[in-house]
Each structure stands twice: as structure tokens, then as C-alpha cells.
Symmetry: C2
Subunit: 455 residues, 2 copies
């Protein structure tokens, strides 16, 4: 048999097999998963080349890890040491913006920023903003990325209409298309979304676009307790104002991000001192009149729900606050956080869950602070506990608390390598056994996404 390097070079061209296990392809942004430089990195330029690579890998019995921009937070892009990384950096074309069907067709390596720019040129938006615009479409599909706007638009799986993906066998699978409903066989699109590269390698996606509404306002409401924040959410949803963003930021996190970014939100010290949590409500509307009306309605409602005062932020301050909130991961990392979690619970359980989390952290000699998607019950926790063993025990108890409240370990980052042991312990064993059988139906040799989710 031809040696692996030669065979890969035949598949993608000699220039696109990188030399000597480049270390930058051995990790993502997970704080805890150790880097593993892969034996080979290939950069296919087409779906046919991806097929060729998978056929070579199968013939040589090596594992394959898909890589987008490497911005994942669960180690899903960390490869097998003897394996091949398939980097989608060259498959980065926006193939079509279809304004008649409100859809875009993109290659897997296109970044959110690139798609955003292409959609914006037509007054449209792809509404997945996980806080990292350099993330690739393929990566966000692999993790079913969410982000702050999910409270209005929903997560990635709501917006992916169809996929082209290469199976472990090298066969090319095509699902869905520019259609928004289909009841014709099992929904393989949905099955592949969130599968973290373990079922198939996504090469192309058809995603839904929406009108880019021009008018936005940001309302900031300090609350005396997180309970009050949580209790306010159902009423905000019931009001029908349909916020674009509905975030809570705890006192510690707010201090850090405003200090880091030098943002002055204009909140008097007397109010700031009593605020244990902030609710950020961003509204978007199709014109300024509607926006003014909705902003007034939101402000009145927040006051009624117990906010001692309500601040409609100037546009520049609002933008900086949201940007800073998007960078909360980096702020936490900069502050020395040892891990970042994205646990999800039923949103009404959020305050109780966070109180329990504080207790758990204390019991394990650690600290857990955060911000999160209040409308979705999706809690981002920065965990401080440098000792790996104590931290593992702390995380296990946090995840168990989430699951016991009807939640899940990950709301949007995925399981990857980082949370696998917790997930295998805490998830419904009937579900896990079934997922293993589904994995086997797609990838009988266990070639794709080694080490992610399953062993």
C-alpha cells in the first residue's frame, strides 16, 4: 500500500498536506483539554477531495478529525495523535445568497463574519451569534451553536435547512435544501447538527436568512437578586415584546467586563452597590416608531418587575457592553478561570441552580461566577479551582445538579473531550446506548471525531 503521506498528497495535492504535525492544529480554545498534534493535516479544496481523504484514512485505518476555525470550547477539534486533521480553511466560499428564498449556501469553512458580511449586503442576517465571529459554519453546525440571540431566533439547528456531508465510507450525503419543511424520511440534517464531527464531515450547508431589522435599543435593569431576574423572565416573554437578547450578568462579571473595557454605563453608585444581578434586554424592530414604543413598554415592565431603575443605554455604550459580554470568555480566561461551563437548566430553575452552584463551588474550595442567557436558562460559569482533581469533583456536582433539575451538561458548546466522562455518567443510559448504535450506523469503524462524546 502507498504510504499514508503519499496517499493523502494524491488526495488533496502535495501543497495541502502540511509538514510535520503542526502544533496549532492540535487544540481548540478549551481550557482543559491537552493539545495533541496530529500526524497529518490536510486542507481539501472540494467535497471530492474530502471523499478522497476519507477513503485514504479508511484504507490506512487512521482516525479523522474535522477542523473549522478551532474556536470550540470542548476539545472537539483535538485529534488522535496518529490521525488526520481535515481542515476546512480552503473551503471558504459563500456559494450563494438567495434573496428569493431567504437562504445562503456556504462551504463549511466560511466564517460567521464572512457570512454576516455577505448577508448584510442584501439587508439579510444569519442570526447565530455565538460571540465568536471567526467560528466556521461547519464548526457551529457541529456544536449546534447558540449565543445571545438564540432567545429570539433559536439555536443553529433552527436555521440549517440542508447539508452536504461526507460519510466515513467516503459517500456524499445530501439532505434538505432551500425548503423550510419536510416530512420525507428521517431528518438526517438534524441528526448531524450537534454531532461534533462524529457522524459525518459537513462540507456544505444551506442556511436560512432573515430580514436584518434596522432599529435596536438596549435596556439595562439592575436587580437586587438573581431570583428577581429569573422571576422577571416569564413576564417579559408573555408581554410579546420578543427581545433579541435577554441576558443576565452577575455583579462580579459586570465589574470585570466594564472595568476591562472601560465602559461607563452611567449607573449611580447607590444603585450599583445594591445590584446583585443585571438583566440586559436588547430589542430590535423594523422601524424607529415601533422601537420607541417597545422600549417604553420594556422599561415600564422591568420597573414593575422590581428593577429599582432602568437604563436605556446610548448606542455606543450598548454596543460595547454586548461586545464585552461576547468576550466574557476571554475576560474569564484573563482573570485566571480554570474552566468555562455552559450548563443549561429550565429557565425558571436558574436562580435556584445558581444558588446551589455557589454552594457546590464553596464546598470544593472553588468559585463559580458568570453570565448567561436568562431567556434560555443557559448559564455560563467561570470556574476557579486550580487543582484538577478538586475541579473534576466540583464540575461533576454542578452537572449533576443541572441534570437533576431537568437540564443538561452543555447548552451550546458540546461535550467534546472535555465533558465526556461527566456526560457518560449522567446522561440517560438508554439514550447513550442508542446513540452508540446510531454512531455505528454512520461510522462502523469508529473513524470520525475520535475521543469526542463517545470513547
Amino acid at each position: 500500500m502507498t504510504d499514508l503521506r503519499t496517499a493523502l498528497a494524491e488526495a488533496v495535492g502535495i501543497d495541502h498536506v502540511l509538514p510535520d504535525s503542526p502544533p496549532e492544529y492540535g487544540h481548540d480554545e478549551s481550557l482543559t483539554v491537552a493539545a495533541v498534534p496530529p500526524a497529518f493535516v490536510v486542507r481539501p479544496g472540494s467535497t471530492a477531495e474530502v471523499t478522497a481523504v476519507l477513503r485514504v484514512a479508511a484504507a490506512h485505518g487512521v482516525k479523522v478529525t474535522a477542523r473549522g476555525s478551532g474556536t470550540g470550547l470542548s476539545g472537539g477539534a483535538v485529534p488522535d495523535g496518529g490521525g488526520v486533521v481535515v481542515s476546512f480553511e480552503r473551503m471558504n466560499r459563500v456559494l450563494e445568497i438567495d434573496t428569493a428564498n431567504h437562504a445562503a449556501v456556504v462551504q463549511a469553512g466560511v466564517t460567521l463574519a464572512e457570512l454576516d458580511e455577505a448577508a448584510a449586503a442584501h439587508g439579510l442576517v444569519y442570526p447565530v451569534y455565538p460571540g465568536e465571529m471567526s467560528a466556521s459554519l461547519g464548526g457551529t453546525i457541529a456544536t449546534n451553536a447558540g449565543g445571545m440571540r438564540a432567545v429570539k431566533y433559536g439555536v443553529t439547528r433552527r436555521h440549517v435547512l440542508g447539508l452536504e456531508a461526507v460519510l466515513a465510507s467516503g459517500e456524499v450525503l445530501r439532505t434538505g435544501g432551500k425548503i423550510v419543511k419536510e416530512s420525507s424520511g428521517y431528518d438526517l440534517t438534524q441528526l448531524i447538527i450537534g454531532s461534533e464531527g462524529t457522524l459525518a464531515l459537513v462540507t456544505q450547508a444551506t442556511v436560512r436568512l432573515y430580514p436584518r431589522l434596522p432599529a435596536q435599543a438596549t435596556v439595562l435593569a439592575p436587580f437586587p437578586s438573581l431570583d428577581k431576574v429569573t422571576a422577571a423572565v416569564p413576564d417579559i416573554v408573555n408581554s410579546g415584546i420578543g427581545p433579541l437578547i435577554l441576558e443576565y450578568i452577575d455583579m462580579v462579571t459586570m465589574s470585570v467586563i466594564t472595568a476591562n473595557e472601560g465602559i461607563d454605563l452611567g449607573i449611580p453608585a447607590a444603585i450599583r452597590d445594591k445590584a446583585l444581578a443585571y438583566l440586559v434586554v436588547v430589542l430590535e424592530e423594523r422601524n424607529d416608531e415601533r422601537l420607541a414604543e417597545a422600549t417604553e413598554e420594556a422599561a415600564a415592565l422591568l420597573t414593575h418587575l422590581g428593577a429599582p431603575d432602568v437604563y436605556v443605554l446610548p448606542a455606543a455604550a450598548a454596543r460595547r457592553l454586548i461586545e464585552a459580554r461576547e468576550k466574557a470568555f476571554w475576560a474569564a480566561k484573563g482573570a485566571g478561570a480554570d474552566d468555562i461551563l455552559d450548563t443549561v437548566v429550565p429557565r425558571a430553575a436558574m436562580a435556584g441552580f445558581l444558588a446551589e452552584v455557589a454552594e457546590i463551588a464553596k464546598d470544593h474550595g472553588g468559585l463559580a461566577v458568570g453570565a448567561g442567557h436568562a431567556g434560555d436558562g443557559n448559564v455560563h460559569l467561570a470556574v476557579f479551582q486550580p487543582d484538577a482533581e478538586a475541579r473534576a469533583s466540583l464540575l461533576r456536582d454542578i452537572f449533576a445538579a443541572a441534570v437533576s433539575r431537568g437540564g443538561a451538561i452543555s447548552g451550546e458548546h458540546g461535550i467534546g473531550h472535555a465533558k465526556k466522562s461527566y456526560w457518560l455518567e449522567l446522561a440517560d443510559p438508554v439514550a447513550v446506548a442508542l446513540m452508540r448504535r446510531v454512531k455505528h450506523a454512520f461510522d462502523p469503524q469508529g473513524m470520525l471525531g475520535p475521543g469526542s462524546a463517545f470513547d
Copy 2:
């Protein structure tokens, strides 16, 4: 081994094993799938009883068909002649309306009407209205039901947060919950939705509820051609008015439904005579001021887009028109239609597709007329061609035309028995082979949903 009847009686109680192959459990509302009375019908009262039934069926090697209200249109509820029908009529409890999390927990046999009533009592709505409120939640999950409001809210899979389902092995699977995002393993909820009872028997669902917006208006716009209707849709979507309903009704269908129901829409004969197609735009808002504003905006836009006149219907007429449109299936059946299709295409392809459908029908000595979800490209065709062989050829050509335009055979009714041969011929063979392997992963003995989708 105990005989089958005795074993089933032990599983669900003697009173809930129906005597003598009752014929009403042998069919659904499909116009073409022949009824097959099952050997046994059981009516379990709990998930544990469903488990017991499946264990008995496995031990006796008989097939199992789930049955909700029997309102399906693809023969999915037609059982195997020697098999067991599991009717969910007794599992009909709304277990919880959770206003803090905007979710409902229901047993599979609850009807849409029952859930609608329970949700309405809290000012909430479950937004799936497929036009048949006696449909069960289990049935609508099995087919991923859509309906007129899907243009705003999306189809069933957007609203199901979690499932309890019994596998062929009798094991109970629990997925999701009162959480709106999750990236923790494969999304088995989504995989089971739309699987037409072939993967598992859904016993309970957690679904999402939304605020029930109080203000509605209906705008009717006659258009001189279907092309103009299709061309208007992207602009309506772009405007951001976000209609609740965006339907087209062709001239023939409009005459039939207004005549059947005796509805006078107040459109002058001169306009009516020139209208080849109607666009029905229903708006919903959270207050009357917003509604008045949106209605004016919609009317101006429709005029701009080529409607010779625009009619804001009085509430009673609007309600009757929508009700009549919901009954279009019955009107078509009453008019002697030989089949009803629910083909979906990219919405911009709708006018071209329908022109091609008219040609295809003519070529096969038949007729195909309809109404449909213009915003979703989902076309309901009443097909008139009494000769089964000629009709099969006509249908095959219609489906092939839809698939060649990037569409699918069924947008919301499912494949069932009725469209299986067409689907197996026209769907991506890589996808079908993969679905067979997924089916095997769930149900290795091929016990569930005999004859639906796969052979």
C-alpha cells in the same frame, strides 16, 4: 408460550384489548391506502403498559403500529394484518402547563384541541395548527405536522423540547426536557420527530408554548397570476411584518370553498373575474395599535406588489375563510378528488412548479388544483384521475418535478404507505441507505410501523 391475546390482556387489562379486529382501527384518512384491520387493538393507559405490550409483541414476533386519532393522510396508521395496533386514546392527559418555563407536558393521545384549550386558559398557545384539531400530539410528532401558521412559528419539530418514548426493546427513552437548547449528544428528539412511528412509540412530549397574541387581521389580495403571488412573497418576508399565515388559494379552490361555505368576501365581480390566485395574509400582534399599523403596511405593500385591490376582511368572514381553507381537504374529497398531495419546493420555485404540474396533469388526462402555504413553498394539490395506473404515473412525475427543483415529496403529511414507492425511487439513495441503518439501530427486528417509509 401464552397465546397473544392472553399476553396482551395481561399487559393492558382485558377491557383494553378490543375484540375481533375492529375495522375502524385499520385505516386513517388517506384517500388511497387500503384499510387493513389489525389482529389486535390494545389501549394502554400508561408508559409501563406500552412497554409491556412491546415486550409481548417482540416475544410473539408480531408488528406494532402506533395510532393517535387516525387523522393522518399517508396511511401511516394502517397496520399489519397480523399485527397489533397500540391506540393512545386513553393516554390523553395534559400533565402540566408550566407558565414559568412556557412549556406543556402532555401524553401522546392528547388532541391539539385539548392542548389548545389548556394553553388558552393561561393566555398561551401551542402554535401547530395543521387544520385538524382532533389530531393527537403523538400523531403530529410522528409526521412533523406543519399547517398554516408554520410560516411564522415553524413546524412541529421547532416546538417539541423533549420526549418520552418506548423502544422496540421495551426500554423507555427520555430525551430533552423543559430546556430550549442542548448540545449534549445526538438530538434523538429531532430524530424521532417525523419518523412516523418506525423508530419508537412516543408516550409523552414536552412542548413549547408561546404568548397568545390577542390582535389578528386578515388581508386578502387577488392577483392576476400565480407568478405575481410567488414574486410577492420575498418582499412580504423582507418587510418584517412577519405574517402568521401566508397562503395562496387558486381560483378554482377559492370558488369551491366560498361556495361550499356560503362565504361572501365582498370582492366585486370585475376583480374576481380577473383573479387567478389569491394571497391570504393574516397578521397577529400584541395590541390593536400595532395591528392597525401592520395591516396598513401590508395592504400598501400588496398593492405595490401588483394586487389590483386589497381587502381587509371582517373578522367573521376571515374566520370562515380560514376555517374553510383548513377544510380544503374535505372540500377536495367531497368534489371527488382521487388523491391529496403536500409536495414542497423552494418557495420561489412555486409558480414554475405549479405550471409544470398543470402540464403533467393534462398529459396524464387528469387535473391538479390547490391551495398552499405560499410562504413555505408547500403546495397542496387535489389530484383528479380515477384510473389508479394513470394516477400513479401522474404522481410520480409531479414528485420528480418537485425533487428536481430542490423540493421533497412530502412537506408535512409524511411518506407513510401512500408515497413510499415514489420516495424510495426519488430520494437520495445514500440517505435512504443510511436511514435503513438508523432504523436498524433503533428496531433491529423491524417491528415498529410496518410498511411505513421502508419495506
